[in-house]
């Protein structure tokens, strides 16, 4: 695994100095890295140029394309489908054709879906996370209005709404028919997509060993495979057995908030507001740790080919 720590160098104190990357994704061909930041901008980079810095010049390492989706609106989540780059911002979901993203021209969205909101327009509803199910071609949106929406790609409309949280949703994870969601209210809900209902729920903050009241009870990230579920946030990163919902391992990693927890093969990738990004095994041992320069990592994505990379991005 290789890593990229991304920094922008500028001599002017402008917004890029204080930029934070909230979401990343790769293009379907795997050659480009797409980033979304808190100012509503999408940055497209050539992966090969960045990975081998000796071969490329400063000029080539600059973004291939930068465009703004909406001014001053956080881009909370990015998802790659075969045809589109799906962007979740505050209140809207946009879809962009890949050709448009990779070219240098003005980017216009191919489609846009507005999240229905019944509040007054003062606070827009963030689309905090999205996950895409390839087989059913459906997109799950976890939003700031405490709901999870199901959207079908062909229809381009929201089909279903799942209520189950009392505060906004931080993270979603979907494998097959199971969907796990974690939110600011401290709940981890396990849904069955066929029946569209909560099957199980966990509240890690209720566990004394896991809970960290000084940080809060919010769950920043959830991840699961067939047997195990891992989650963390304000509470410590912990692993639970899916069926029995028993706590199995509490990971002793130093942090002040988990924003990323993901299963990769037999290992767990975890990170957040910490000095390191951790690679852990299911027994709770730290296999490797990567030092990070930003305060918090909000997004970690990986791919195996054409480049074997892990990209970490956050508040820097």
């Amino acid at each position: 695994l290789r890593q990229i720590i991304y920094q922008k160098e500028l001599k002017m104190l402008n917004k890029n100095f204080y930029n934070t990357i909230l979401s990343q994704t790769f293009t379907p061909c795997g050659n480009y890295l797409v980033l979304g930041d808190v100012y509503g901008q999408i940055w497209v980079f050539h992966l090969s140029k960045i990975i081998k810095p000796d071969n490329s010049t400063q000029q080539e390492r600059l973004p291939k394309n930068v465009f703004t989706i909406e001014e001053d609106v956080q881009i909370n989540s990015l998802v790659t489908t075969d045809n589109f780059l799906v962007v979740g911002t505050e209140g809207n979901v946009y879809g962009y054709h890949w050709k448009v993203i990779k070219s240098m021209k003005e980017c216009k969205p191919a489609w846009k879906v507005t999240i229905p909101s019944n509040r007054d327009k003062l606070e827009k509803c963030d689309v905090n996370c999205m996950t895409y199910n390839k087989s059913t071609e459906s997109l799950y949106l976890g939003c700031g209005d405490n709901n999870i929406y199901l959207m079908k790609m062909e229809a381009g409309e929201i089909i279903q709404t799942l209520n189950g949280h009392t505060n906004y949703i931080h993270s979603l994870c979907n494998i097959g028919n199971e969907l796990v969601s974690g939110g600011e209210d401290g709940l981890v809900n396990i849904w069955d997509t066929r029946i569209k209902n909560i099957v199980n729920k966990i509240e890690p903050s209720k566990n004394d060993k896991i809970a960290r009241p000084e940080l809060g009870k919010w769950i920043g990230a959830v991840g699961f495979n067939e047997d195990w579920l891992v989650c963390g946030g304000g509470p410590r990163l912990s692993m639970w057995h899916l069926r029995t919902l028993n706590t199995s391992v509490i990971f002793p990693i130093e942090n002040r908030g988990i924003h990323i927890a993901e299963f990769k093969e037999n290992r767990i990738l975890a990170g957040g507001t910490a000095d390191y990004f951790y690679n852990l095994n299911i027994n709770g041992d730290v296999i490797s740790e990567i030092p990070i320069s930003s305060v918090t990592i909000f997004s970690a994505i990986h791919q195996d080919d054409p480049f074997n990379v892990l990209c970490l991005a956050g508040s820097s």
Binding site: E9, L10, K11, M12, L13, N14, K15, F17, Y18, T20, L22, V38, Q74, N76, S77, L122, E123, D126, N128, C129, G144, Y168, H170, S171, E184, W218, G220, G257, H259, T273, V295, T296, F298, S315
Partner: protein
């Protein structure tokens, strides 16, 4: 004897002419007869007779002798006979002699006549010879003779034929030119030439006359003009009271202009441009020339003849001489060193000297704030240096406020990266090295700043070492510079006013057009000046310094905002071109530990909210800092209240304490009702 007799006879003839007339006739007849005779008788014959006679005489004498010896009577008779015979013979001899004489005379006469003839022919011959020679020489002379007319340039024949009057030329136009005609032609041409030349000479004379006239006219006019000078000055003197009455200070302007002519070139250019600018725009600005008139005059005369640069360049030779001489005696060496040092000091002085005149621009803004900018020209270094001073009214007492306004830093970075500590003239470094100075920056306190824009408005355009500078806007425009100085002054004054309030821990008032949260629990508790070293040591500022956003030449302050139990220390860097770049805050929160942008996302967010998004117009200079501070106060409130609402009761209005995946705090201010 014959001669005597003839001469006696002739004498007799002469003395007795009357009685000798008849004798004369006889004589002449005799002579004639004798002449004939001599002519007739052959000379040879006579010669023979003579010889015979002589012989006979000799024989007779011999006989006589014998006879005498005999001495008988017969002999005496014979002697007598012989005597008479001999007498006769002698007479014959005489005759013969006479004849002979006649003959010689006649032959002589003939000879003479012939001689005379020969002589005359000879003479004639000679005469002819001479004449011939003479003629020959005359001939050659003639041949060599160049008539004066050959020297005279004549117009070519064709032109002559065209230009001369018809009468003359007609005979030449027809028929072939024989020699005679050619001669005629030549003569005619000469004549014509003569007439033409006469005409030209006349023309020349008339022109000369005219010229003389004009010359005298000119002289007269000159005299008049010279007379006008003093009259005009008299008029000016007389007009002074009128000027005062009308308020046109023409005299003062004249005096200034007179001084202006003595300014060195770059300063003169500056003076002219700024004067023009002032007149056009009529703003509160004054341009004056400071310095002594006489000194300037002296300086000008001194430097007009000398080429000062030659002196400096003769240094290497002087150095060599020094080295050679050092090889000498020790005593002398010491002496040499002293003079060497002196020379060096002198060289330094010479290098750094400035022209006695300098231009000062005084700008007035608001009440009591006066900025004086003085431009001095350094001829050796060939640059213009600037010193500035500000007069600040007594209302500004705060240290920090004064700091912002006082002289030096006020003109720093008027244009990008122009600190004035490096001489824009690339040759200055060589000159300084030669004399022993290390760098220009060390001399700045003495000389003043050498700003790039100062060089440009004085007309100097040096090649800059940094190529990137070529793309920047051309500050040769005086207008631009003066406007930017004004803006700088105004913004600094605004800043100073704010600082004045802040030092007393009062956040100054902000105009109503700007939105800001009005109610905040946290208050400003301290405001002090901060140093660059301290700034660098704070962890909160590490990122900024690393990215070279902040530099040692900016102004630094430290503000403390507190609410019971929690303090927020903000270190503020204000750049020289405030408010074009808004002040940069670096925050450190002390509550339950120390948090700053490097270890806390929320503080980083707070920093972002307070640093970015402000208007950079000049007009905002008066409130940007205050607005930032006010916002910061309410941010602190929001943070603390959202963090632990139990400890800090919520006074500010915000909807959600956290939102979004990054759990950000609501630091955005929107004015709705009382404010959020």
């Amino acid at each position: 004897m014959v001669k005597d007799s003839t001469s006696i006879k002739k004498r007799r003839k002469n003395t007795a002419p009357t009685e000798n007339e008849g004798e004369g006739d006889i004589y002449t007849k005799v002579v004639e007869f004798e002449e004939k005779e001599s002519a007739q008788r052959a000379a040879e014959d006579d010669a023979n007779i003579y010889f015979d006679l002589c012989k006979n005489i000799r024989n007779y004498l011999a006989e006589v002798l014998l006879l005498k010896q005999e001495n008988t009577n017969e002999s005496r008779g014979r002697i007598q006979k012989g005597l008479s015979e001999s007498c006769v013979m002698i007479a014959v001899l005489k005759k013969l002699n006479r004849l002979d004489k006649f003959r010689t005379i006649t032959s002589r006469e003939n000879l003479n006549t012939e001689k005379q003839k020969v002589d005359s022919t000879n003479l004639q011959y000679h005469n002819l010879l001479y004449e011939a020679a003479h003629l020959a020489s005359e001939y050659t002379k003639c041949k060599q003779f160049k008539s004066k007319d050959e020297d005279i340039e004549l117009v070519p024949v064709e032109t002559f034929l065209q230009l001369a009057p018809e009468l003359m030329t007609q005979q030449f136009k027809t028929g072939e030119l024989t020699d005679a005609k050619r001669h005629q032609l030549h003569l005619a041409m000469l004549e014509w030439e003569l007439t033409q030349r006469k005409a030209q000479a006349q023309l020349c004379d008339t022109f000369e006359e005219e010229k003389k006239h004009l010359a005298t006219d000119i002289v007269a006019l000159k005299n008049r003009l010279e007379g006008i000078g003093p009259k005009l000055t008299a008029v000016l003197e007389a007009s002074k009271p009128l000027q005062e009455y009308l308020g046109l200070p023409i005299d003062k302007i004249q005096a200034e202009h007179r001084l202006a002519y003595l300014l060195p070139e770059p300063l003169y250019l500056l003076y002219a441009l700024t004067d023009a600018y002032k007149q056009v725009y009529n703003i509160n600005m004054e341009v004056e020339i400071l310095g002594d008139y006489d000194e300037a005059n002296q300086w000008k005369e001194m430097h007009q003849s000398l080429d000062m640069k030659v002196d400096v360049e003769s240094e290497p030779e002087a150095d060599q001489q020094e080295i050679e001489e050092v090889v000498e005696v020790v005593k002398k060496r010491r002496h040499r060193k002293i003079s060497q040092v002196d020379k060096n000091e002198e060289k330094k002085k010479v290098l750094l000297e400035s022209h006695p005149l300098c231009v000062q621009i005084t700008m007035n803004v608001k009440s009591g704030f006066v900025l004086k900018v003085k431009f001095m020209f350094r001829p050796q270094l060939n640059i213009v240096t600037v010193t500035s001073s500000t007069d600040v009214p007594n209302t500004i007492t705060a240290n920090t406020a004064r700091e912002a306004l006082i002289g030096e830093s006020i003109l720093n970075e008027l244009l990008d990266e122009d600190f004035g500590t490096e001489s824009p003239n690339p040759s200055t470094s060589y000159q300084l090295q030669r004399v022993g100075f290390t760098s220009f920056a060390a001399l700045v306190p003495k000389l003043g700043f050498a700003y790039n824009w100062a060089q440009k408005i004085c007309g100097y355009d040096f090649l800059s070492i940094d190529k990137n500078q070529c793309n920047k806007p051309d500050p040769a425009c005086v207008e631009l510079i003066i406007k930017s100085i004004y803006r700088r002054l105004k913004s600094r004054i605004d800043l100073a006013l704010q600082l004045q309030h802040l030092e007393q821990n009062l956040i100054p008032t902000i105009p109503d057009t700007v939105e800001y949260p009005k109610n905040a629990e946290s208050t400003l508790t301290k405001w002090v000046l901060y140093s660059w070293q301290n700034y660098c040591q704070l962890p909160a500022t590490a990122q900024l310094i690393e990215n070279e956003i902040v530099q040692a030449t900016d102004l630094f302050y430290s503000a403390t905002i507190s609410r019971p139990k929690a303090t927020l220390q903000a270190v503020i860097a204000i750049k020289n071109n405030y408010p074009l770049k808004s002040p940069i805050f670096s925050l450190t929160l002390k509550y339950n530990g120390e948090f700053h942008g490097g270890n806390s996302d929320e503080i980083r967010d707070m920093e972002r909210a307070v640093n970015l998004g402000w208007s950079t117009a000049i007009s905002s200079a008066s409130w940007v800092l205050s607005a930032q501070l006010r916002h910061l106060c309410s941010f602190l409130d929001v943070y603390l209240e959202s963090l632990t609402p139990s400890v800090f009761p919520q006074k500010t209005v915000f909807f959600k304490s956290v939102s979004g995946r990054n759990r950000r705090k609501p630091f955005k201010f929107r004015k709705i009702g009382a404010g959020i």
